[in-house]
Symmetry: C2
Subunit: 206 residues, 2 copies
């Protein structure tokens, strides 16, 4: 019986190796390539360990770490839905829910149910733990875009207003002090960008 | 003052982005490329969450997860020392210790000291938590080698006896039930390999 339990656990651990091949939109900070969802999950877990003092309310850091370690596992089946895309939110939620059931269903029942519950808690973003986890999941790519001088914002022609509306509410809700820093970064980033554009030589054909 | 603390935390979180560019010897399970140390750390944290029932003694799973999230961060400065290399153990330990002091030294003092203590506990491998973490750090690449039909063993011409001596003691000590499974896998792997070699056509020039 023990062997069967271990077999299921190892099947799951082999299956989730595939998260290392899911490529996100965000680059690494050295811009050498795009980030994958497994290393992104590792980085977010480190963010949670270090930045828990900025959570909106009292959080259980270990639960936040666990949530962030498994929050993207569904992407093995459905891929990464970029923040700056036109995909339908309800379609995405349905596909991800099916993926969670399949993937966590590979585990022994009790562990699978625990992981599924934790994943659903993250998705619903209602508890303090989930609100903070969601905030970090928005904060990290924003930081990457600022420190790579544009990143996915430049690629997708995203405006300051769009950054504020797409990242602001989630970060503000889960980690207001971090959002205060973001506001400064984002404002400065777009001011500098405007200066660069206005300083460009005029199009000689125009 | 708060800003200074956050600045240090964010400098550290930016610095450790580089762990995503440290390439290990082990391949991904689909053999598409080598694994990097950041995604390896994520995977090990998942191993710890799922396999804690096989630890040699009572462990605090959250501490084991934390240890595994940060155990390889020193590789940002010193790179990965492969298990099947001739590098000097004491030289490696000294270089890694310097790296840990520099990297965790980027953090606010209290957090830096906590991380450094956790990293040293992992390295010393004396507590139950550290013995289990070390066992998982050996178990995962062994699993990868078995399920990729050789992996780094084939590349480095490693024998069954060398696998037993290089992986066995650490896994046996921290997770004896997992070592029992490894023994079966490894024995079967090398039997099959011997069959493949003996079934090869003879060298016509011989």
């Amino acid at each position: 019986m023990q062997t069967t339990i271990l077999d299921k656990q190892l099947s799951f651990l082999r299956e989730i190796d595939r998260l290392k091949t899911v490529v996100r939109q965000s680059p690494l900070l050295d811009k050498s390539r795009k980030e994958n969802s497994a290393e992104h999950s590792w980085h977010l877990a480190m963010y949670a360990l270090l930045l828990n003092e900025y959570a909106c309310g009292p959080v259980n850091t270990n639960r936040v770490v666990q949530m962030l370690l498994l929050h993207d596992i569904v992407e093995i089946d459905v891929g990464d839905f970029p923040i700056h895309s036109d995909s339908s939110g309800s379609f995405q939620a349905e596909e991800e829910s099916k993926a969670a059931e399949r993937l966590f269903g590979l585990l022994p029942q009790q562990q699978g149910n625990e992981f599924l519950a934790l994943w659903r808690e993250f998705e619903r973003a209602e508890t303090e733990d989930a609100k903070f986890a969601k905030a970090l999941d928005r904060f990290q790519p924003l930081l990457v875009n600022v420190f790579t001088h544009g990143g996915t914002w430049t690629e997708n022609d995203v405006s300051l207003e769009q950054v504020f509306s797409r990242y602001g509410p989630v970060i503000q809700r889960g980690a207001p002090q971090l959002w205060a820093v973001c506001e400064q970064w984002v404002t400065q980033h777009f001011s500098e960008q405007a200066l660069r554009v206005s300083g460009m030589p005029k199009d000689s054909t125009g």
